[in-house]
Symmetry: C2
Subunit: 396 residues, 2 copies
Amino acid sequence: MNITVQKYGGSSLSNVKKIKKIANKIAERVKANEKLIIVVSAMGGTTDELEDLAQQISDTPNPREMDMLVTTGEQISASLMSMALIELGIGAISLNAFQAEINTNSIHTDANIEHINSKKIKTYLQNNDVLIVTGFQGISSEGNLTTLGRGGSDTSAVALAGAFNAPCEIYSDFPGIFTTDPRSYSQAKKLKQISYDEILEMARLGANVLHPRAVEIAKKYKIPLYCAGTFSEEEGTYISAEPIEQSVVTGLSVMENQTQVTISNLPPDHKVVNQMFKFLGEKHLNIDMISIININESINLSFSYIEKQKNYFKKALDDFQENFKNCDIVHSHDHVKLSVVGLGMRKQGGVASRFFNALDSLPIKLVTTSEIKISCLLDKKYKTRALQSLAQEFNL
Amino acid sequence: MNITVQKYGGSSLSNVKKIKKIANKIAERVKANEKLIIVVSAMGGTTDELEDLAQQISDTPNPREMDMLVTTGEQISASLMSMALIELGIGAISLNAFQAEINTNSIHTDANIEHINSKKIKTYLQNNDVLIVTGFQGISSEGNLTTLGRGGSDTSAVALAGAFNAPCEIYSDFPGIFTTDPRSYSQAKKLKQISYDEILEMARLGANVLHPRAVEIAKKYKIPLYCAGTFSEEEGTYISAEPIEQSVVTGLSVMENQTQVTISNLPPDHKVVNQMFKFLGEKHLNIDMISIININESINLSFSYIEKQKNYFKKALDDFQENFKNCDIVHSHDHVKLSVVGLGMRKQGGVASRFFNALDSLPIKLVTTSEIKISCLLDKKYKTRALQSLAQEFNL
């Protein structure tokens, strides 16, 4: 069987007219003798609406029920896409996580795919030309619905491509992958090719192009990825192991809605810090950039997290504070994380000094670096200034 | 275990505020040491919105995909209700048809429940005080989602009550069952008690109080039913085998949105009629009142169906007409079906003559009768006049 996996993002599915248009494109591929597995996100806006309903009930809605709620979004778009294809005379069928047997671990709202029943899916493919699979969701061994974290439909698509050793095409409103988000910096350039490692750093840092887990799986199973615009005729971006040409810095990514929390006056015992990280980890709260400084016989700690999780973090840190009444905890919202990424950084020095030079006098709150990236946390009011300076400095 | 099944209708769940209010009432029952199985409909309006999306894609959307689409409605309300209960400190969990294993046959959009895995549900009840089960839906042996037909959440509730030999409480915006729909006739009276047989005829005839399959199952398993208002303190209506007092006519029901189709000039061979009914039956198209007359060496046939199915009926009858080019087929919309129902009719004669007398000069299009009911089809413009005459005649 000549199988291709395609994934369509939520904004490409935001109304019935768009769904019909995509169905027409899929139908052409079927007529060219391909079997297709289509992974769909929820119709644009749906997930936000559902999350808003939950928020009206609780600041910290039960995660198991949250997954039960939001997974309906992809079931809606999958069934509509299937209807549209059947209307065109194509043999199509929609499958949710129960039906496709996409098995995950039990970490609600942030699960990982553990196994896909490819045998069962193959049977569906024998009887249909197109399968429409709900992205972003799976089932746990307890029979609960789980979700893979925001943007997890990419992961669903790549995992399915991996299960069938098939190429994977990711369609969205962007005609490819850019050196930085063109919505923030209009002179951003489209890349013809990029490596798994570079896109991985960009994805992790919020470039909003591909879900990190998706790229990790693609890299592991060497799945050819292609990112392009759903309704665009332009050629998109190919993702492979190594790019043909290497520039020092390939991309600049922006992660919005960051919160910095600063905890001061902790007792001078690093076990306390470890305890706190363990405590947050058990609640599946992810922290990002971390900085620890000892001042005046006490430990002062600062880290960043996604603003969306602020209620969960506040509750957890308030509980933690019960045992350390003397410490002060301050949450500071409205920050952005900017990062420059490039495989070339491994071989060429001086990137850090160019990075800080470009940012000049801007007050940097936190910094982290890796082999192929440098990131900093800034107040969001400096976003545009910093973006432009960095894009000019690294010719992005 | 002291188990009660409750069902809440869509208009009682139309916003988060109402869901929270119901959660509070359920929490009180849990504190009084009850285990509850709560069956929920979709939030008021949701199913219509979803059906509208499908209609934008096809006049005759694929039924399997239609079920996949609309079943999301109950999953949304179930997860929200469960969240609201957990927020109140109650051990609650929502279950969809896959999780509760509500098995049906494979007739999409109009399936019947065949088996409920009560053992599995009991395990959930051991670990939780309240189960929130998605009404209206099931799974077929092929692993597809099915729905029980509009209003099927009543059936889900009564079937669950049957599986646990538990009483069943049906809550809606109506504070009980009335002699006729109070929205159409403001002087309608609330009944204290009614028999399964009477409510069955009223339900089948569109009194909009209880889904017919629900009453059939309640009658079969002798499940005590109680219908009351979700947010009302008034006592509702009890449904049992025989009512205490019997009046000749207990209720008057109205079924709106009826279409009459008239097929003239069919060849004088009753096999043709049987063929046509078989043809429609295979497509799961339900016809209601039927009248057949032979005139001038040809068969003339008229029957009614639910206007909602008009596209399916038109397509099917157009296909049928291919083989009988001489026949004329006319669909006439905007009709209502009025029926009077009463156990007392079995013992007292003269009801038919009082019925036709009351309707006097109104043009009746079709008539059917049973042991305990008389129905007629009328143009909808005569609805109010006919309703008032019949209610006065039978003191309803």
